[in-house]
Amino acid sequence: MIEGILIGLTTALTLQNILMVMVGCFFGTIIGMLPGLGPMTAIALMIPITYGFDPATGLILMAGVYYGAVFGGSTSSILLNAPGVPGTVATSFDGYPMAQQGKAGKALAIAAWSSFAGGTLSAIYLLFMAPSLSKVSLSFRSPDYFALMILGLTAIAAFSSKGQFLKAMMMVVLGLMLASVGQDSLSDITRFTFDNMNLTDGISFVLVVMATFAMSEALTIILKRNDPTSAAKQVSLTELGSIKINKEERTKMYKTIPRSSIIGFLIGVLPGAGATIASFLAYGMERNVVNDEEKEKFGKGSVNGLSAPETANNAACSGSFVPMLTLGIPGSGTTAVMLGALLGFGVQPGPRLYMTNPEIFWSIIMSMYIGMVILLILNLPLIPYIARILAVPKNYLIPLILFFSVTGIYVMSFNNFDIYLMIGIAVVATFLRLYDFPMPPLILAFVLGGLMEENLRRSLLLSNGSWEFLWDRALTACILLTTILIVIWHVYKTMFKKTNN
């Protein structure tokens, strides 16, 4: 492992890669601060640029964007009470009241240190857990992988949209359907191409991500007359106050950070759960464990109440890399986008990644830590100025997002059919978003579609067409049982809630 860490450090600490982390963190922070535009949009916009680099550098850039976007989301939660991403909603519960009390600088500092500590601790957990899990996952067979993918898709559908399980499942099926367009991987028979040569190679992953996130996000902002930049204009450079944290506050954070980081990391590892659930759980747990006097402060600017969700959401981000790196199965929409990018580089994540491409495996883990340090050094003092950059009017921001989307697709294919297809998918996605159809399940399903078919093919061929492979092995049966439990729990929760209402 020491050798691996050194390989990772050597790769991540080159001048070019440090520069990439810095650019990624900066760009991610700006996008993450804009309400509605989250890490997935930020990463999607970066993908075409990453293809100009080697895989390790490209992924380091994306990891920087990811952490920057999460941090940016926290900043807008604290300063504007407008969370950029759902994972930072809980941050606003105590961060915004603190800012209203004239302690915005302190709140930002607590958030930054908690994010740093949460990210660092979870990077250490990942450091130890990922190689061991990779070894364990070498014993996984096709039926287990197929069952795991079903679990991942069901879980993301259950967790991604509150009370909209069926809508999310429809999006999962739509994602799998889009993935089935093009040549069959084994027989080369074309499917759903309608004799159009442009569809023979299937629909590009970048195209789907750009259309469903970047482009449809821009169209939604125009359609709903939202102005994500308007709130940033209210940020005052003079009213942030001191960023110093006193001894009493530090003592509180020392207790909160370790327990919240464990919760965050474990929730992040679970497929479909992610930063939102982690931050809410950590916030709830923290309120239960503190004394009555501190409990009273929750919702009014509590240090523990701010530190807990911030630690947990960053820890969950690192946790979500575990299934992607060790099993090759992303647990969240964001890691699905990163998996798609990895596949675009010709790198197949999974248990063998850390043996076949150790420099990629370890450099991602190391760059996470470097990203945390850079976020702390760069962003904390620069936040008020970065927030000022956001005062760019919507009239410029939207065309620029559209520009990066269409250019991204054009430079990848030099084909105007892809531009038309992207516009078509973006229009449908915009309309679906209006009615709360979630997009992350579609992306995850699109990324997993090919792998899922491949594993189902192998399983069915090995069992001679019998579906007994689903319960022949204890591991497969356990994974499927978990999937069934998630569905039952979700149905029960929905019915119980309805009865209560």
């Binding site: 009370g163 089935s180 499917r191 065309p399 520009f403 054009y410 105007n416 067409g465």
Partner: protein, 156 residues
């Protein structure tokens, strides 16, 4: 009568799944693969049935939280204009080239979104695209075809 749009979307998805399923059954497979446990049409057929199942459930089950969208407050005109500009961009980029098409795409988007600061609009379109093009073409070595720049001798 108040029509529930989510149900209409579910109905459209149901019809789409039925069409997908029909097309999946039409996929031509090799003769020796026809009766194999798994061939090129197996997975799409399952997907078609899954689509019918979930959209069918959404259609028949009651809708607890009806989503109401206030269409009067939606900005359809500007959205449609932006989409048309993007389509025109797609139609002209191969013939005219990256630089001019992209610059005009940005400039017209700013204009139709209501921007009137001409100098800023110009700076954030033509020079901005030129700089971006230099980054892609010159620094990252990503080839960009541009008949317009080639015709005036700027690009080789």
């Amino acid at each position: 009568m108040n029509i529930n749009t989510t149900k209409i979307i579910s109905l459209l998805f149901f019809i789409f799944s039925a069409f997908y399923l029909y097309t999946a059954y039409q996929i031509q497979v090799f003769a020796f693969d026809e009766n194999a446990p798994f061939n090129a049409r197996t997975f799409p057929i399952y997907l078609g049935y899954a689509g019918l199942f979930f959209s069918g459930l959404k259609l028949v089950l009651p809708e607890p939280n009806t989503i109401k969208v206030d269409h009067k407050n939606l900005e359809y005109k500007k959205t449609a204009i932006l989409i048309v500009i993007a389509i025109i961009y797609g139609a002209t980029i191969l013939k005219v080239g990256y630089f001019l098409t992209t610059s005009l795409f940005l400039f017209s988007s700013y204009y139709f979104l209501g921007e009137r600061r001409w100098v800023l609009m110009f700076l954030l379109s033509f020079p901005f695209v030129a700089a971006f093009m230099y980054l892609l073409h010159g620094v990252l070595d990503i080839y960009l075809r541009d008949p317009f720049l080639q015709s005036i001798g700027v690009m080789g």
